[in-house]
Point group: D2
Chain length 339, copies 4
């Protein structure tokens, strides 16, 4: 049964496996002091056109979020997220475990706007309530939507003028910046945020996210935080080699492009079948609304999540494509749907 359940159903892109094999018996320093990690850092600095950033490789998204937010905030400071934010719902209270409140803002499209943050700031002004200090966004959002350059710039300026840290979860950043609708580059992400991460796990790596810290005040002793949270891999090379390869010959972007193309193909087919969508998402997650009986039929041949009940007869499902998604599987899904 073919799965459109998520973008981490397969292992790694073959080029990444080959890179692991090629370097396997070389002796390297542990804990991220190996040559591959250093090289991957250089490549990312070059892409960002910024040699002053710090780059750290961490095994997964929740791990990166909790280390970064736990490191950036003082005990009484809080973060702001939309109600669908990964840190707000899908991390088993990881942020709260680091001691920080996640203040949620209602949003229909997974995106946050300055006006909503302003409301939070207005209601948090003394020592009886937490002090909002960090704005958490994700790009793509958990609903597959993306930020435009203008939106991110506005958010960035608002945060700066309100002394807030802007932090972006980029678990699916590849998909976000590679869609044709996007006008944001990796370098823009760096310019407009204080810190953000470039997701590897969901874009062809076995595991790994690259955390980029631009804000000087957030850099100090960051490896201590990684180690204290148990996230400093002895064989740090495992992360370094993967990102080294992902940022060689544009592999990272190629993989994201493939995921986006497959999602577009799916969307096109669904629209041809007159299907509506829960939300207009241009990236590798789409949320078509289907009749329940059709969903049941599709479930016999495909694996995916039913996302939300729409009414007694209809539900939205979530279909996710990835670097590994096969075009034939997409076409088969559309055929099955149109039956």
């Amino acid at each position: 049964m073919y799965s459109f359940k998520n973008d981490y159903s397969e292992g790694a892109h073959p080029r990444i496996l080959n890179a692991l094999i090629a370097s396997n018996m070389d002796q390297e320093e542990g804990y991220g002091y190996d040559r591959h990690t250093q090289n991957a850092v250089s490549k990312i600095k070059n892409i960002m056109q910024n040699q002053n950033i710090d780059v750290h490789f961490i095994s997964g998204g929740t791990q990166t979020n909790l280390i970064a937010i736990g490191a950036f905030l003082k005990p009484y400071e809080a973060c702001i997220s939309v109600n669908t934010g990964h840190i707000a719902v899908n991390e088993t209270g990881a942020i709260e475990y680091t001691g920080h409140k996640v203040i949620t803002i209602d949003s229909n499209d997974g995106k946050i706007i300055p006006e909503k943050i302003k409301e939070v700031l207005n209601s948090h002004s003394n020592e009886h309530v937490v002090k909002p200090k960090l704005v958490y966004i994700s790009n793509t959002t958990e609903l597959g939507t993306i930020y435009t350059k203008k939106e991110l710039k506005n958010l960035s300026e608002f945060c700066k003028s309100n002394n807030l840290i802007l932090y972006a979860d980029g678990a699916r950043l590849g998909s976000a910046i590679c869609v044709k609708e996007a006008d944001l580059t990796l370098s823009d992400m760096c310019n407009f945020t204080d810190a953000f991460f470039i997701g590897g796990t969901k874009n062809g790596a076995l595991l790994g996210e690259a955390l980029v810290i631009k804000n000087e005040n957030l850099k100090e002793d960051f490896k201590y935080h990684i180690k204290q949270k148990g996230a400093l891999l002895a064989k740090g090379r495992l992360l370094g080699i993967q990102f080294e390869e992902l940022f060689t010959d544009n592999l990272y972007f190629e993989l994201a492009n493939h995921a986006n193309e497959m999602a577009n193909l799916l969307s096109k087919g669904l629209k041809e079948a007159n299907c509506k969508f829960l939300i207009d998402s241009p990236t590798n997650q789409i949320f078509p609304i289907l009749e329940n009986k059709i969903i049941k039929r599709l479930e016999k041949k495909f694996n995916f999540y039913t996302w939300k009940k729409i009414d007694d007869n209809y539900s939205a499902i979530r279909l996710v494509t990835s670097w590994a998604t096969k075009k034939e599987a997409v076409l088969e899904f559309i055929n099955e749907l149109k039956k």
Copy 2:
């Protein structure tokens, strides 16, 4: 320059890489619900001759220690460790970050004995001091020494009769149970502890430790703890496949045997050169005492840690072997020493 600095200088054993390649494009469930993880769990249950244990795969030793100890203890409970214990010194306060004190006991050989625990219990008897609840041991210890079956049994009985949890860090458990001096099996480790982990990172895996929980009271909802600490890998297969392979055709034990043999070869050569040792360690870490000028000479050709100053002219160094250590390198080291 050849390195005897640690047992994680190379990548993974080729059989592990091959297993990753062979399964790479199969679609699997995420978060440890894949078939390989389930199979690896089965294999470990069979080795333990105990179908009632829970097994969880976690990326590294510090990560495993902090999740396990954080999960097992109530906020005011503390753990007891020898002064050289990994949790006491080398985890950047990871255990304290989970809120728990590490009470240290003096020890010359890295091992803990009931009499010393008894002293701690006697001085902790009311609500003004923490409540000691968990005894942390490591096997091999951080000094390369091992527990005998009798020692572990005594410790186990003492802990049971004092309502203490006995937890073992097995980052180098392979080496510990495979030396000829050992009379402990993996199954004994399971019988005599409440929980322990089988180290993969230092015995041929890219990353990964297998945490075994035997005590019923410690099992509940354990995956929540893993997720909350950011350690639930999306591609859990990466850990499952490695342990599946390690416990196929005795690979785990073969790799540990090789590491031990190389350490023995080193020891033998050192003894022939009339070298003394900081401690008598039969496993893959040895601590020879050498003249400083000889150390300086060796450092030109080999990479290793100088462990401890003995006097103005002598120091102890640490030499670590692994599944990947080359016999020629060992012989070369001995030759260089004897010059």
Copy 3:
């Protein structure tokens, strides 16, 4: 300028001061082992008609909430509160600092109903999200409303059948159970919850809340939690003596009655002046809606909070009465209003 800002503007009821003076030079054991504390515990057990409860005296409401919730929950468990709950908004993230998420439920009257809890349970069913485990209510609520016996009984049964802990914040419990609309007794509070506290600070004490723990599973080693959070007063007698006095000759209830009577007098006067209210609250907090220009006039003679903007011309204010509120001040306020 007379203050209706809160119920902690004055010191303690004179009988409490007298009790402190009378016992002042007696030597007593520290840390709550004094005779007054033991006596106060006995009195509370008798009122509850339950000799099996545990009673602990803690300096304030936030302190009590964070110690209790921090003690009752495992790291990945969360509490559920209405959006206006004290732990959700007014404790500077104290609960999150203990590591636990506060899941909020929308509510207009400050009260929580089983249906809303059910929705939360339905959306929290695996290890990727926190596990809701404790329901936090307050009586009176932060909006001055109260639970009926039937409501609390329903909530209690729902929690029991869903394996949830029901915990009540009783910072203003005196006012809640003494209003004529109330059909709940202190003993009912004990029967229907797993734990709750009886507020002293806002009902005539200098400081202090009495935490009652009924559920056997929540009692173990509780003093360790109090001490670890820095809340075990060396001179525990200070709390014991006050509660001893509060529960002698019904002082606690008399003081609450006075506060309620003064609030009623205020309400009556406001209604006579055709004033509407933000919410119908029978207890010692009332929320009249007044024209902004009237509010400005009143502010010249009285101290109170403006609670909420209603429209461009009207706002709701909060008036709080207490054991110490003077009848003349109430009458003066009404006169001023009616001018």
Copy 4:
């Protein structure tokens, strides 16, 4: 039975009770914004001859330590204390609960010296171990000894040049600075430390410690920390009034002097009876070594702690005097001893 068990057996000095009574029915702002608190702050600033310090009143010593240390340190930073330090042994892991390791240094007299700190710094130099950042001292120490001006100055200079925070626990600071052997003033304490607290609980108050923060970097948003830890009393006046009174007409110093005189009287009598001491402590805690059979006899008439076994026949006991200790009780104790 008269108690020499501690310095918190009685209530408060009558002048403090009188001050509470005199101000009792005045309406004051909550949470430390009352006039008495502001006045007490002014008085303390004047004594320190420093108008730039921040002063916060907190209910007890453990509470103050955990709030201050938790506020001053980043997650991976640790504090250094002697092995007998209150934070190291007698706070039920309160500091670890805030996430920080307490590194202990051996000491026979309860005092810390730069050489010992230097050793700790030398062994903590990378991200695999915590980063020592705060030096915790107590004056008097837990063994009743005191720091000389020279010793504190040296420590202060060492800390400054090593970028360490120097923090002093002054639970018994009154006794420390009032003994005739002392050459330190309150103002010196302020000059030589980054922060310290002036103990009220053990010197005549019902409860309360005055935390003085001199270092600019440690001041920001401190009230948020107090509130988040549940320590911001609604009736903050209770603390303000007491310190206002303690620092009026030298009451604080008078009370400490009385405690010291009573301890001296006890020491003198014990020495006349040829008694030896565990340690030479000039302050209100003394540790005479007595024959066990004499201890048993004394225990029939007096309450005190047996501190330490010396040999099969002898033990050290701890005798504590306070502002409330009666001269007759001291003389009676000596008489009983000499029998």
